[in-house]
Amino acid sequence: MTAIAVHQFAHCITCHAWSPDHSMVAFCPNNNEVHIYKSLQDNWERVHVLQKHDQLISGIDWSVRSNRIVTASHDRNSYVWNLEGSEWVPTLVILRLNRAALCVQWSPKENKFAVGSGAKTVCICYYEQENNWWVSKLIRKRHDSSVTNVAWHPNNLLLATTSTDGKCRIFSTFIKGVDTKDSKAGTFSDSKFGELIVQLDLSFSWAFGVKWSASGNTLAYAGHNSMIYFVDEVGPSPLAQSVAFRDLPLRDILFVSERMVIGVGFDCHPMAFAADERGIWSFVRFLGEKKTASGSKYGSQFSEAFGKLYGQPRQGVGNDSVESSRLRGCVHENCINCIVPLKEPGGRGSTIKRFSTSGLDGKVVIWDLEGQDDLSQYL
């Protein structure tokens, strides 16, 4: 059993993000607000409600170093929220879109953020000191449909996008005055803003949930046809692998190491995919197939030892009739649409042992890969 905490925060959650120290969680309860909960002793208390958007919030990202929240909404705008005293102060970012914003992510250096939208456009936003203003620069006429997800390469320059036209694309987002030429972008450092580096045509249906591995060497994204795609050596001649699986499609994915990916989606169970010694990716198994301690209200600081204590007895139980217990004993009871890493505060390593998922059932679930013998070989 790998789910160590289950929190029923709302009826439905569209997206969530954690504060840098993981003591607070921000999520959108399927409306125009962001709720921030803080863990106080044993329970979670609502400490802030961010109200500024007019419509459903589709993306939240909380920057680690600068402690800023960025939100994107169907009202076609973004806000950057700064904590001043005890208040979150919003700054409007006019994205210049004519359709809903669908996803948002801070760049690794946190000096830019990217917004994907239903206007077949990606916005790269950066702060202009002299005007005290976030400027939105658009990458237009490159997508044939809505941009469902964006992912920053660790070099802070390359941005990968997935779209409902089925393609995954990689762009350069070099902005003069914000980025410097000497950054470790290698061969891509000379590319201009908005330049299409590569377009991957692996999927013929909607594409979702693009992510880079921590090193930036591998890219993965999911197709709405129950496929997941892994791309190595992103560049002029990418090496691609397609993995078909037998269950419902994925909505979002997460690299927990260079060799393992967790996928979440319509199946309500996170799936683990891993690469063997030859680099061939395949489906390994579901996470949390057995019945869980649902409704338990443990904080995110929940000690690992306690997690093990809870985990091991149950691991022995559910060997009988996997299929039926899989359906009844779900941790999530509806589509999971968001997976977020919980990096250990001091941890410099690139492997992620903990992550959280949220979905249409309104739960935020924290997962731990500790003590999973069959999976630890890929970490």
Binding site: F204, H224, N225, S226
Partner: protein, 135 residues
């Protein structure tokens, strides 16, 4: 991959028809040798022409239908049919179900049940999302 253009010219259609006729003869001879699974493989192979030409599509369907109806032992078929055929087989099963013809639907439902057991819902999704193979 979708390299063939969406609409084919008349002579291209003729070439496809010739290919289907060739496939049909091969299937007939395999069926005569009592190799229904081999016949089905042949039918599913040689990817269905990516064409909007109704004549090609129905000619191809007749051939696949012939092989599909010849399957008597569904479990036996799956033991020798490789998983790479599952997605395209599923797509043909839905084509069969859309005919509304009683014996065809019976056969397709019988195979569909076993195929879903083996290949899961993902297979159905892939067959629905597949825009390359027109059946």
């Amino acid at each position: 991959m979708a390299t063939t253009c969406d609409f084919v010219e008349a002579d291209n259609a003729e070439a496809i028809i010739t290919r289907i006729e060739h496939k049909s003869r091969k299937i007939e001879s395999l069926l005569k040798q009592l190799k229904p699974v081999e016949a089905l493989k042949t039918a599913l192979e040689g990817s269905p022409p990516n064409t909007r030409d109704e004549r090609c599509k129905s000619a191809n369907w007749i051939v696949v239908h012939r092989a599909l109806m010849a399957i008597k032992d569904v479990d036996g078929m799956f033991s020798s049919l490789d998983p790479e055929y599952y997605d395209i087989l599923m797509k043909y099963l839905y084509r069969g179900l859309s005919t509304g013809d009683r014996p065809t639907c019976d056969q397709c439902l019988r195979i569909h049940e076993k195929l879903t057991e083996r290949a899961g819902l993902g297979c159905i999704l892939r067959s629905l999302a597949d825009t390359v193979n027109t059946v």
